[in-house]
Symmetry: C2
């Protein structure tokens, strides 16, 4: 039994756990067995303490059902503080860092009964310098970043749920590269206490799962919103298809997936429209990159100053670039970002949901880094909720999909429609 | 000499330090002497290590001038992490907490040459449960909260500069009660990494000094904006006088200070206008209190869950109230707050600066708590910059003043005009 338990989705496992037809210990043992088998190739974990995971499971099995995540093993990106496991933020500066408290989002999950299976690999401070994690679909490729270990662990059936953060494209991109669901909620909806800060106006906490419904379960806890546990949707959404200004960087597999989705969803009864691109080149990706660099250099003031020698060259380059951004220019960029967000908001008078690329295409090779977040930067900057939906296989046999975008603070509506969209697309997967 | 050095303002001390006419060690010794004399009555400090402060000073004296805060002693509210001093957040839960890093704002100050004199008392997690700090103008009274120790230390000439945070009224109110300058910048302008989070959409970092120019010096480092070091202003501002919906709670001394300011500034050539109050009762203070309670309960999820017994009754009451706020209601409150912020923003088409009460009046007695932030809640929620200006003495001989409000992200213009306003008012102080 333990060889398949680790493949259970979060909702299904939760139902069995709730009925005491499955114990948390059984489920954790299955996950740990999978990890033991696969971790030497995948390197998803920054810290793993099997005995501690089992102790948490046994304690949960002995007590009452704590909440909707009771007994579910959770992979926690190593950017979130944990009181019982070291937290290194992907940097040697914090090699011996043992927080005194849990990040608020971790505490919310434990309060609902989840157990922390381990800390999953993050890139350096959730920026660009990669960790050791490999793509579980094919270890020659990157799993994406910065939530590399979280996405890989869920994709490889090591854990049913994982926590991540997105400042540029760090949830949506690894979800795309690993072929799972990744959900970035509306900005400001999940408390960031105890999460290593990178860019104050951008950092967003979210999660990974293997179905939209499962990620809704996790989000219902993080966002304190039980509506996210019922994603029933009976309408036919008005879908806007948006290529973005980065379209020229999209690879054939993304273009094919985009066309395929439009066809399938139209045939399923949705009103599907290609959206016009903004006339002017508003250079959204660069706008976001500048805001992120400026804020990161401020947030990492201590590390810059006291431990510069332990920062990667990539990060040092970003922080040096930030020094060239004048503060008034930064404020002007923020004002432009606010105008763009208002424009995006107005789209949703016409469309219920917008589908757009998550990444240029299949993941790059591991040696080439964690990929480019250019297809995500604008959405993070606008604070809109986004969920990656996998439904295609590219020419290298690796996952491809699209992300669905909704109006700010209508996360439930987005996930409900995304579940419908994903069901339609997954029923007619595209293999290239 | 050392008996008066501690009274030097930050700019004047910085000038002497820069010319090497004063050493950091001399200045620190003067501050420590003052602390030794007064701390038994005032209790401004949560942690003080005189030897460590002197060691920092001697190291600065030996090296080159590091930046615009070179050699200036800084009181750091004990809500900010420091790598070299314990950080307790005003709670016994963190009695043995030794952070591995500095908060970003502390690191920015050190980078500019400041030295951390010690950790100043905060209320519990910067909420309502008071620390031991007394008002240095009269120890029978509260210094206000939550930045109690920072305001008291600067008011009592123990330090020329201090760091604080405001989520409701935690900078402006203690500045008012202690009779000094307190500056809350526009929301989002000072990085919050390493600062204990309370309410993500409200927490704002700022500072205290004994002149507007001195607080501008500190803010120029926190906000990476050298314009804040030149507050020259030659015009005559259009000043809006705003009583707020809380006016009925204002005490006679606040009303007298308000009328006095209007008269003096009008005579000085400003165009002073009484602003109309909103027709409907939009209950701004309650709106803010609900948003703050909701977000605090999310941010303090770990402490609520793992250490509930160590939370004060006041805090437990706030967190329990939060449990009754449905998430959709919270989102509706946030939407109302955004509309209010847009309305406030439009005021600044007509007015350059708005003057409004900082607190109901003179501080309450120590035993009555840290006072009510009702006159600050709305401004924090709207994210506007605010600076408290002291210029009156109430019937108990305690300080009274007003706060000046500016348009979001025009902090330099606000401080420049506030310096002019303060100069005019301080030249004709009101004694009741």
């Amino acid at each position: 039994m333990s060889t398949v338990l680790n493949k259970l989705g979060a909702l299904e496992a939760a139902r069995l756990l709730n009925r005491r037809e499955l114990t948390a210990e059984q489920l954790v043992r299955a996950c740990l067995a999978r990890i033991e088998q696969r971790e030497p190739q995948i390197h998803a974990w920054a810290e793993l303490d099997p005995d501690h995971a089992l102790a948490q499971a046994r304690a949960l099995d002995k007590g009452p059902v704590r909440g909707v995540l009771h007994g579910l093993p959770l992979a926690v990106k190593d950017i979130f503080d944990t009181h019982d496991l070291p937290t290194r933020y992907g940097s040697s500066i914090y090699a011996r860092h043992h927080p005194d408290a849990d990040a608020a989002c971790v505490a919310l999950c434990r309060e609902a009964g989840a157990l922390v299976l381990g800390k999953s690999v993050t890139t350096e401070f959730a920026t660009y310098h990669p960790g050791p994690t490999r793509n579980p679909r094919n270890p020659a490729y990157t799993p994406g970043g910065s939530s590399s270990g979280s996405a890989a662990a869920v994709a490889d059936d090591m854990a049913p749920l994982a926590l991540g953060t997105q400042t540029a494209g760090s949830i949506i991109r690894p979800a795309a590269y690993c072929g799972i669901i990744g959900f970035k909620p509306s900005f400001g909806r999940v408390p960031r206490a105890g999460t290593k800060a990178l860019a104050d106006s951008l950092d967003t906490i979210g999660g990974f799962a293997r179905s939209v419904e499962d990620v809704g379960l996790l989000a219902s806890v993080l966002m304190r919103d039980e509506r996210l546990r019922n994603l029933a949707y009976s309408g036919k959404p008005r879908i806007g298809m948006f290529r973005t200004q980065q379209w020229r960087h999209s690879l054939p597999e993304t273009r094919a997936a985009y066309e395929h989705a439009a066809r399938v969803l139209s045939a399923a009864g949705a009103r599907v429209e290609e959206m016009p691109l903004p006339a002017e080149d508003c250079a959204v990706a660069q706008l976001h990159a500048d805001v992120m660099a400026y804020e990161s250099a401020q947030s990492l003031a201590y590390e810059r100053q006291a431990h510069a020698g332990q920062l990667s060259t990539k990060l040092q380059t970003m922080l040096q670039a930030a020094a060239g951004i004048a503060t008034q220019d930064y404020l002007d960029l923020r004002a432009r970002a606010a105008k763009l967000a208002a424009r995006v908001d107005s789209w949703f008078d016409q469309y219920d949901i917008v589908l757009t690329p998550s990444a240029s295409g299949e993941p790059p090779f591991f040696e080439q880094g964690t990929g480019d977040p250019q297809f995500c930067r604008g959405w993070t900057m606008c604070g809109v909720p986004a969920v990656h939906l996998p439904f295609a296989q590219g020419p290298q046999g690796l996952p491809v999909g699209l992300q669905a975008i909704g109006r700010v603070n209508t996360d439930h509506a987005l996930l409900a429609m995304a579940a419908w969209v994903h069901q339609e697309l997954a029923s007619q997967p595209l293999v290239m």
